[in-house]
Amino acid sequence: MSKVADHQLVARAVSAQDTAAFGELVRRHQSQVRNFLRKLSGDIAAADDLSQDCFMHAWDKLQTFSGRGSFIGWLLKIAYTTFLQSKRKSKRYAEILDQVGHKMETEGQSYSVQSDEVTDLDKLLAVLDDDERAIMIMSYACGLSHREISDATSMPVGTVKSVIFRGKQKIRTSFDIKDHQHG
């Protein structure tokens, strides 16, 4: 089954409810999805939970995959939506806690690293907002084209390009990239 194309596995999973075919798709793409969500959220455990949710949503929506773009692009779209939904939920939870007099520790933070070791990438991602972070990760970590990112984020290609440009500018002003460029 390892040589079968993604599109064929999707067709098998949809037409025959073949869980083994879907399992092969999960095996192929779990690393990229989990890496994407780990970088996006900064929390390994939460990212893995979100990855599970993402693949469960993907199973439910598998018949909506048209096969026009890449399967990983489609999966990352679901992963990003799952991330945003979970963020909205925790924001609402924080608001409810706030109303009853409690304060969430992470309140007001867009990106917080839940690991003891803060890497250069964590510092770099911390200066970006959610959209910029997601798009930069899709572009530089997952290697998606601007068209694929546009499909995944439901943003026009021009907006994707300008977000990447803005993200790069933010990174450039926050870190001395020129030293790394030639060294």
Binding site: T19, F22, V26, Q30, R34, F55, W59, Y140, H182
Partner: protein
């Protein structure tokens, strides 16, 4: 042609792009049972969905059996109160009644069979 040019333009990377790629680069994450857990979860959910209707029907049947028996008894008693002429008149007015009942039963059996084949 235009899309090819756009793709080529995208592929031309400067030093900054290469630096960012190296920063974002990370080792692949080992599966370690992740995909197996997902597949197990999906199979469990499929089983639950398949079982939901028959289980609900059984529970509903178990709950409904006593009042249903009471209803049948009441109907029998009620029919004994009705004049015999009225009952015979109804059957003579609708002679297809047994065929309608048989047809409905056949239709229900076909629908159930189709559903089983679908599953």
């Amino acid at each position: 042609m235009t899309s090819k040019i756009i793709n080529m333009a995208e592929r031309i990377k400067d030093a900054e792009d290469r630096f960012l790629e190296s920063m974002f680069d990370s080792a692949p994450i080992a599966d370690d049972g992740f995909s197996t857990a997902i597949v197990r979860k999906i199979r469990r959910r499929l089983w639950l969905r398949r079982l939901a209707l028959p289980v609900a029907a059984m529970i509903g049947g178990a709950i409904a059996i006593k009042p249903l028996a009471g209803l049948v008894t009441a109907a029998v008693r009620l029919s004994s109160l009705l004049p015999q002429e009225l009952l015979t008149a109804t059957f003579s007015l609708v002679p297809q009644a047994p065929m309608i009942v048989l047809g409905a039963m056949l239709l229900a059996a076909c629908l159930l069979g189709l559903r089983a084949l679908d599953d």
